[in-house]
């Protein structure tokens, strides 16, 4: 590039970016206009889960020995500036994701549960860690949790392997039979977070209309239920809990209908063409949702399993999935590491921005525990051993960063999930295939 962008007037840049034009304004606007009065007096923990598909190149991911996190390996290098907020784990596994597939890499990541092998509606997994957490952390927020992803376009016939597509595409499950659809369109995410446009009166009226529509759905479902058989009636019970949940969301939104009078024109409109711009926008929306305390639990699928996305922007014109079957070809492995590093770099920007965002007595990063990783280890073997996993942030929650935790023996990833749940006040005896809690994440606190 010959000229630098700083020579251009700011407006030009915004016009050129098109979709993301609203966000720099929002940054300034959200805390000022609305969120501060809703930001809890006592900072609360937030949990973020970021999923990447198809494992990694371990030779460029795994840090040298430990426990100090020394020089970061190539893939993790973009996280250098937040190293002290980082715990990298080696030797976590997902036993329940076997026999190894892309579907179970995705479905096991947050559930650590065994996916019933079916393509039909009798799919069965387990409640995911984020949803357990949302039950505690989401009680007082407008949205108990937010599920995001990056793939807008549907591909068909690429999640067969005998598994229904729900396993491969949905990270979050609010019950073993309820996958939660994720959203990849920034405008729609924005509207879920900040509500639809219009004047405060219009917004309030719209919310009231929603509430009465919801009452009607409940009544109508009751009528329908009388006509149905026993099995279908059980399914309808699930619908009723969805109704209660949406009802609660409307009540919370009504409480803040006067806030955030954001002009329609400043909302994100389309989807940025470039993958990185789209990902940044999605990360920014997560940060705004944390910052405004709209939700405290977010899951984000940065790419999906079996994705054939190419990454020419980092010198990888080859599609990700076939490349991941690298057969130890050094050239292919190197390209996989570039994709891994690119994903990490986008996450690193997010972590840096969270660190730069004040929250209570520290930064938003101090109050957020972010888990980043994959449900697959070595993609060329489709295995679920030695998963690439790291935790960022959470200093205020006791996370002791700057470390590499290496287990001698394969340790269930579920142990980490169980430990995180424990820390946010959800006490379970076990989770998935967990064998206990881990003690390596937090500072030892004198009792």
């Amino acid at each position: 590039m010959i000229i630098t962008k700083k020579a251009l007037p700011r407006r030009t840049l915004l016009r050129g970016m098109g979709a993301s034009l609203a966000l720099p304004l929002l940054d300034a606007m959200v805390p000022a206009a609305t969120a501060l009065d809703r930001t809890p007096a006592k900072p609360v923990p937030r949990l973020g889960f970021v999923f990447v598909p198809m494992g990694c190149d371990h030779s460029r991911w795994t840090p040298a020995s430990g426990p100090e996190l020394g020089r970061l390996p190539t893939i993790l290098e973009p996280l250098e500036s937040v190293k002290e907020d980082l715990v990298v784990f080696t030797n976590f596994d997902l036993k329940n994701a076997y026999p190894g597939t892309h579907s179970t890499s995705n479905s096991g990541f947050l559930s650590a549960a065994f996916a019933k092998h079916t393509e039909s509606s009798d799919y069965y997994l387990g409640t995911t860690v984020d949803q357990h957490a949302a039950r505690a952390l989401g009680k007082d927020t407008q949205l108990p949790s937010l599920e995001l992803s990056m793939d807008l376009l549907q591909t068909v016939g690429q999640c067969n392997n005998g598994y229904a597509c729900v396993y491969q595409n949905n990270l979050s499950w609010s019950s073993p039979t309820t996958p939660l659809p994720s959203e990849a369109h920034p405008r729609i995410v924005f509207e879920r977070i900040f509500g639809e446009g219009g004047s405060p009166d219009e917004r309030r009226a719209a919310l009231q209309a929603r509430a009465s529509l919801l009452d009607w759905v409940r009544d109508d479902i009751g009528r329908l239920m009388r006509k149905l058989g026993e099995t279908d009636r059980r399914r309808v019970d699930g619908y009723l809990s969805s109704i209660r949940e949406v009802e609660r969301q409307i009540q919370r939104a009504e409480a803040s209908a006067a806030d955030n009078p954001l002009p329609d024109l400043d909302r994100p409109q389309g989807v940025p063409t470039a993958y990185a711009d789209h990902a940044r926008l999605m990360f920014d929306l997560q940060r705004l949702a944390f910052q405004g305390d709209i939700t405290r639990v977010v899951t984000f699928q940065l790419a999906r399993e079996l994705s054939g996305r190419t990454y020419p922007e980092v010198g990888v014109p080859d599609p990700h999935h076939p490349l991941s079957h690298h057969g130890n070809d050094p050239e292919k492995v190197e390209k996989i590491s570039r994709i891994n590093r690119f994903h990490v770099s986008l996450f690193a920007e997010h972590v840096e921005k969270l660190k730069a965002t004040p929250d209570g007595e520290g930064s938003l990063l101090d109050h957020s525990v972010l888990l980043y990783g994959s449900g697959m280890g070595n993609p060329s073997k489709h295995d679920h051993d030695n998963l690439p996993i790291l935790v960022a942030g959470g200093a205020a929650c006791g996370v002791q960063g700057g470390r590499h935790v290496r287990y001698e023996e394969a340790t269930p990833l579920a142990n980490l999930h169980l430990t995180l749940l424990d820390r946010v006040g959800v006490y379970l005896d076990s989770f998935g295939d967990s064998s206990g809690k881990i003690h390596d994440l937090f500072r030892s606190v004198p009792v």
């Binding site: 597509c165 939660l180 109508d220 279908d232 619908y239």
Partner: protein
């Protein structure tokens, strides 16, 4: 009332619990198998014909399929040939393997053709007569929500409103290859979105009350080439785009136009001034001139003045932005004519391009206008204030009958009328209707297709579904939408209970434009055309791939499938045809001369053409390729699964990593040889890879090639059991056409999956054979297969839980 058509008389009477094998079915079965065995008698011991059937299994199958370690857990040593009805699933499996020649595996001794055929015929007859005595229609879920496509179509047919459903609802997950299978869920997110969607749609359809201005952004796909004339725009124009926009109210709208910028935020192609036209419903409403900037920084200002206020009536309009064409001479730059990507140094744009258009409004609202939506919705207008309640009831009962897809009762009307009254009290008659409409759109009776069970049946008993349930099955199968009034009337008159009445409706509906849904929605999933939208080949290897080509590829196949359906052609024409549909862009891609312009037209292909059937469609060839190269594995799997009907099993768990990396520089055939040498991979890839090799003459975009990297393409390959002669696409097509019942059967299974919204199971096979038998004399007409499904047991019946 919910089940008007189900009566005692309509119920299927089962043979009493005679235990099957002692009943008439069992006896017939034995006789058939004896006859079957007679066909094999030449090898058989004189001990008995039944023993001969047994000996076929013993000779060819039992070596692997016996004992506790039987392959695939299938024990044919103990399976009882005399008691087929006890476990039809096993025998349907055996029949399937024999039919597709996938067992015994390649390389092991197999029964001679005629012997295999005779055994198979008798086996199938036995299975069919068992099924006739005791039909098993399976069980489609009783509660299925409309998926995204169905929702969009239902709103279109209910309200004459086209919605951008992708921004209203989350996408659906597919199972068994279709997105209408796993639709029993209602997560909070989905419910939330259904409510928002209902409010937005009601507002758009009725247009009552105030409406604060909102902005819609209309984007042009980044890889759309705008160098030449584009479809849907007036002749004599270049580039730009036409957008379908629904305007919520009559009033003023601000339209703003952005031009494409390169990575330095400059607008390329501004060597001279360019005119730009804004068209509303193809009428010129505004003309702009874009002038070259004086210096680089001025690029920010170049398109600043491209905005206009338009007075627009409410409802759907076509808004277009385009450049009048100023020269007709061909460009003779270094750029290849259809190079899609631009590069400011090597291939800069020679003319500006449209980036996006925003529409903001309404301002100065003049009213709700006279829109197709209002005409469709308002079955009456109140003559006076006193007449309002009567008219509201009329509007709503017409609406609800369509939306709920059945006659409506006073109880059904009560809820929406309540919404109407509140809206009327708060505002106007229209406001009341708008709120009632929103309530109808979130009603579970609209959002869910329900199939309730009649009272008094035993568990697992087969019964005929109600007339209105059948009407919905029919319309959602053929149109992915709600029934029209005529179909509901026919259901009400009881005509669907008779096979002729059902067939009459099905044939009528296949003639309706809405049946193009089978080409776009069904075939879009069956053939995976949907994946084209996310197909982006490597720009360096395929520099001329752009959205224009992507859309042309999709259109060719959709139009082709539609033509086979509407012209009463044989489904086999899908495999081999002497015509296709092309426009200039696609014809150039295929190197077919003499096709000019952006309009699609039917093109008759000469003898020996490289084009014709589906296997030669660029769409199919592209979605089974990687962005950088062809994949014989993907293509082979695709054909085995979607055309031949013998999908290879999924890759084994824990795929062993290949010990030695395979060089990417080797020819494809040699690269893949490595994993056929590996025993863990070989068992399946011996079958899969040769199928794909036969299409290696088509590159990753479906262009014909004789060489790859200087080496001649070797298209040897073919389907299981087709022999070595089947090379290239000709050979592949021949072997598919030699066994037409296999392709027709596969298509029927796919159609049945889509029609029922559930996976096809072994107990559906007798119905499938019946459909095929009925369609065989007409050479498997596509429409006959569809009508056969509509009249079949699984379509018209259901089991209780």
């Amino acid at each position: 009332m919910f089940h008007p058509a189900v009566s005692k008389g309509g119920r299927v009477v089962h043979p009493t619990a005679t235990g099957g094998h002692t009943g008439p079915a069992g006896a017939a079965l034995l006789a058939l198998l004896v006859a079957a065995a007679a066909g094999l008698a030449q090898d058989a011991a004189p001990g008995g014909a039944a023993a001969a059937a047994r000996s076929l299994l013993d000779q060819y199958c039992v070596a692997c399929h016996s004992g506790n370690a039987a392959n695939a857990g299938l024990r044919l040593d103990t399976a009882d040939l005399d008691r087929i009805e006890r476990d039809p699933a096993i025998w349907e499996g055996v029949a399937h393997k024999l039919r597709t020649s996938t067992m015994p595996p390649t390389g092991l001794p197999a029964p001679p053709g005629p012997v295999r055929r005779a055994f198979l015929d008798r086996l199938e007859e036995a299975l069919d007569s068992a099924a006739a005595a005791r039909p098993d229609p399976g069980r489609t879920q009783g509660l299925r929500r409309l998926n995204r496509t169905e929702y969009r179509n239902a709103v279109r047919d209910l309200l004459a409103v086209d919605i951008d459903v992708e921004t209203l609802l989350p996408h659906d997950e597919s199972g068994h290859g279709f997105d209408n299978v796993n639709v029993g869920d209602l997560s909070p997110t989905l419910l939330d979105r259904y409510i928002s969607a209902a409010q937005k749609i009601a507002r758009l359809a009725v247009g009552s009350g105030a409406s604060s201005p909102r902005t819609q952004i209309l984007r042009v796909r980044a890889d759309r080439t705008q160098e030449r004339h584009l479809p849907g725009l007036p002749l004599g124009t270049r580039g730009g785009n036409a957008f379908a926009v629904t305007f919520p109210r009559s009033g003023e709208y601000e339209v703003r136009i952005w031009l494409t910028r390169n990575r330095n935020e400059e607008i390329e192609g501004l060597g001279r001034a360019h005119d730009l036209h804004l068209l509303l419903d193809r009428e010129l409403v505004h003309s702009f001139t874009v002038r070259p900037p004086r210096d680089r920084l001025d690029h920010a200002e170049v398109d600043n003045h491209l905005h206009a206020r338009l007075q627009v009536g409410a409802g759907p309009h076509e808004l277009a932005v385009t450049f009048p064409k100023t020269e007709s001479s061909l460009l003779e730059t270094m750029r290849q004519p259809t190079q899609a990507r631009f590069n400011m140094h090597r291939h800069p744009r020679t003319a500006p391009a449209l980036f996006q258009v925003s529409v903001t409004g309404p301002f100065k609202v003049t009213g709700a206008g006279d829109t197709p939506a209002r005409r469709r919705l308002f079955a009456c207008r109140p003559a006076s204030q006193a007449d309002e309640d009567r008219c509201a009831e009329q509007v709503l009962s017409t609406l609800l009958r369509r939306a709920y897809r059945r006659p409506v009762s006073a109880e059904d009307l009560a809820g929406p009328l309540e919404f109407y009254r509140k809206g009327r009290a708060d505002g106007s008659f229209d406001e009341g209707i708008e709120r009632a409409l929103a309530s109808a759109l979130v009603s579970p009776e609209f959002l869910f297709r329900t199939e309730a069970e009649p009272e008094g049946l035993e568990a697992g008993e087969a019964y005929r579904i109600g007339a209105f349930e059948l009407a919905s099955r029919l319309s959602f199968f053929l149109w992915s939408s709600i029934p029209d009034d005529e179909l509901l009337d026919a259901a009400e008159r009881g005509e669907l209970a008779k096979p002729e009445g059902l067939e009459r409706q099905a044939r009528r509906m296949l003639g309706d434009p809405r049946a193009s849904n089978l080409a776009s929605n069904f075939a879009g999933q069956w053939l995976r055309l949907r994946s084209l939208e996310s197909f982006s080949p490597n720009a360096r290897l395929f520099p001329d791939f752009d959205d224009n080509l992507r859309q042309a590829l999709r259109q060719e196949t959709e139009r082709f499938v539609d033509s086979v359906l509407r012209e009463g052609r044989s489904a086999l024409d899908l495999i081999r045809a002497d015509y296709t549909f092309l426009n200039e862009r696609l014809a150039r891609h295929y190197r077919i001369p003499g096709v000019y312009g952006t309009r699609f037209r039917r093109v008759r292909l000469p003898e020996g053409s490289k084009r014709g059937g589906l296997l030669r469609h660029g769409s199919v060839l592209a979605v089974t390729s990687y962005p950088t190269r062809t994949s014989p594995v993907l293509r082979g799997t695709w054909i085995l699964e979607n055309l031949f009907g013998a999908p290879p099993p999924p890759p084994p768990p824990n795929v062993p990593a290949l010990d030695n990396p395979v060089s990417a520089k080797l020819p494809m055939r040699e690269r893949l040889a490595a994993h056929r040498d590996n025993p863990a991979c070989a068992s399946c890839h011996m079958t899969i890879d040769p199928v794909g090799f036969a299409l290696e003459n088509f590159d990753a975009l479906g262009r014909w090639r004789d060489y790859e990297d200087g080496a001649a393409i070797d298209p040897t390959g073919g389907l299981p059991g087709s022999g070595p002669a089947a090379a290239g696409p000709d050979g592949l097509e021949r072997s598919l056409l030699n066994r037409p019942e296999l392709f027709a059967g596969t298509l029927t299974r796919k159609l049945l999956t889509f029609a029922l919204g559930r996976g096809v199971e072994s107990y559906d096979e007798p119905a499938i054979r019946e459909i095929l038998r009925a369609a065989e004399p007409g050479k498997y007409r596509f429409s006959d297969l569809i009508v056969g499904i509509v009249k079949s047991v699984p379509f018209r019946m259901r089991n209780t839980a």
